[in-house]
Amino acid sequence: MSLFSRKRVPFRGTPKSDIPEGLWVKCDSCHQTVYRSDIEDNLQVCPACGHHYRIGAWKRLEITADAGSFVERHNTLNTADPLHFTVNEEDYGARVARAQSQSNLDEALLSGFVTLEGHNIVLGIMDPDFIMGSMGSVVGEKFCRMVDDAIDARQPLVVFTASGGARMQEGILALMQMAKTADAVRKLNEARIPYITVLTDPTTGGVLASFASLGDIVIAEPGAYIGFAGKRLIQGALNVRLPEGFQSAEYQMENGFLDAIVKRQDMRAFLGRLVRYLSPSNSHAGQCHDQT
């Protein structure tokens, strides 16, 4: 496609995951002892209980997109420090640099063109470990540019969310990204581009309350933590015990906020079907063959 200057980027590894250290590990969920490599070979899902461990953006890309199809976009934005925010002598710039070196990512959102089961899409993936997957100015701007890519190329937009919410270190400007990304979804809607969000563990706060919830189709991974306010905050305010499974994907499904819960092993095929059925090129508009 000559519309864009495309730069092919090789897959990079994920240096970090939330699987406990060691050859043998005790599963966080079922507490059974399993081989670490058995979890890793199983898309970072516990072979005993099916617990879905968090995975970084690069790993997610690897298990979602067709091999070698990724063309990264918008990785030239660098986070500024509008508030001159410093916590315990570490300024925000240093905090971002630390996250970058730990993740091999430029920011908490990875974006680009890929093919998925042979279908062209624009794909966005948030990284749960990049400053808690929080949304600051760069994440907001990248999201808007991904939307423009999807509209210009007339390809579906698929976004995997994983976020602690809006990024405190950018203060009110991070909050404004909620409105900014919502407006981008509005553009996508007006252009009639399919928009699919996949809510992964955790999808919370300002990201849930903006572009994550605004998908045409909203799906989630099993057991993902999905909620607006943090559990500790709710518990602290009310001093009550929270219901079993509170704010899990299954709870959100029951309350009517999800279209489907899809296991990681089935995700690629599921998205492939959705994209195939919903691609703008499949639309019935303008395809009248009636010659009478």
Partner: protein
């Protein structure tokens, strides 16, 4: 009102810390939405219910007459007496509240009247019932709606502009903020807990988050700061009415000259954020 000239701890207002301003914004005698509604408007007809599941007393909506013209009103009211505070959940709306406001945006657009939004909330309510009914989804829906609502929206941050709970009714063409109001991504106490791992660092967090009206003006997130009586509006509430009325009057006058367009509102929000771009 018999609150005039209560004592204030500070005389040099310019030197107030962010935390001290936060305390003024939360002051129990600070005038709230319904005070302004009763003074600014000749008449007010409250409208209730989200037409889905309930009516949220934390979010007050209705039709008002401002200097002979009809406007639609949305806003949070925290409550004054203890009973009222409880009934209104301290101004922390549930999804029903956001959905009621959404209904008002649509109605105002349909009938062609401007919206006046009063922001004063610590946060969208963090609670079990709020989560169960989709707090995040309700706020997201409002943000999206306000980027489409084809009628002018004026917002005034009266006291606390608490995060997504505030923004959920404040994607506006023009935002006025009272001098001692605050508008923040999260309460300084929570920021201190999370980033400093010590709630006692709340003063430092309040400073670092840049939550004052002057800060927000410098970021372009608000359009004007409305001067308050010395020490804060609670010292002389009646004095706060005329300057706020002047802002609404000016907004409506500009509306008649076609000043507020959806394109402008969208472009304003599209610009928010700061980053550097590498040319590679």
């Amino acid at each position: 009102m018999n609150d005039t000239h209560a004592n204030t701890t500070q005389t040099e207002d310019g030197k107030l810390t962010a935390w001290e301003r936060m305390e003024i914004a939360r002051h129990t005698r600070r005038p709230q939405m319904l005070f302004y509604v009763s003074r600014l408007f000749e008449d007010f007809i409250e409208l209730h219910g989200d037409r889905l599941s309930g009516d949220d007393p934390a979010m007050v909506c209705g039709i008002a007459r401002f200097e002979g013209e009809t406007v639609f009103v949305v806003g949070q009211h925290k409550g004054i007496s203890t009973d009222e505070k409880v009934a209104r959940n301290f101004g922390m709306a549930h999804p029903e509240g956001y959905r009621k406001a959404l209904r008002i945006f649509r109605l105002a657009e349909k009938l062609g009247y401007p919206v006046v939004s009063f922001v004063d909330t610590p946060a969208a309510y963090p609670g079990i019932r709020a989560e169960e009914r989709g707090q995040g989804m309700a706020i997201a829906a409002n943000l999206l709606e306000m980027t489409r609502t084809d009628t002018p929206i004026f917002a005034a941050v009266l006291g606390e502009g608490g995060s997504g709970g505030a923004l959920g009714i404040a994607v506006a063409d023009y935002v006025a903020m009272l001098e001692y109001a605050v508008y923040t991504i999260c309460p300084p106490e929570r920021c201190a807990e999370i980033l400093w791992r010590d709630v006692e660092e709340k003063r430092q967090a309040a400073e670092a988050l840049r939550i004052t009206a002057a800060d927000l003006l410098s970021f372009g997130v608000i359009d004007t700061v409305v001067t308050e009586p010395a020490g804060g509006a609670h010292n002389a509430p009646e004095e706060m009415v005329a300057p706020l009325a002047a802002e609404i009057r000016a907004f409506l006058a500009k509306h008649k000259c076609g000043e507020w367009t959806l394109e402008k509102r969208r472009a304003k929000f599209r610009r928010f954020g700061q980053w550097h771009e590498n040319q590679t």
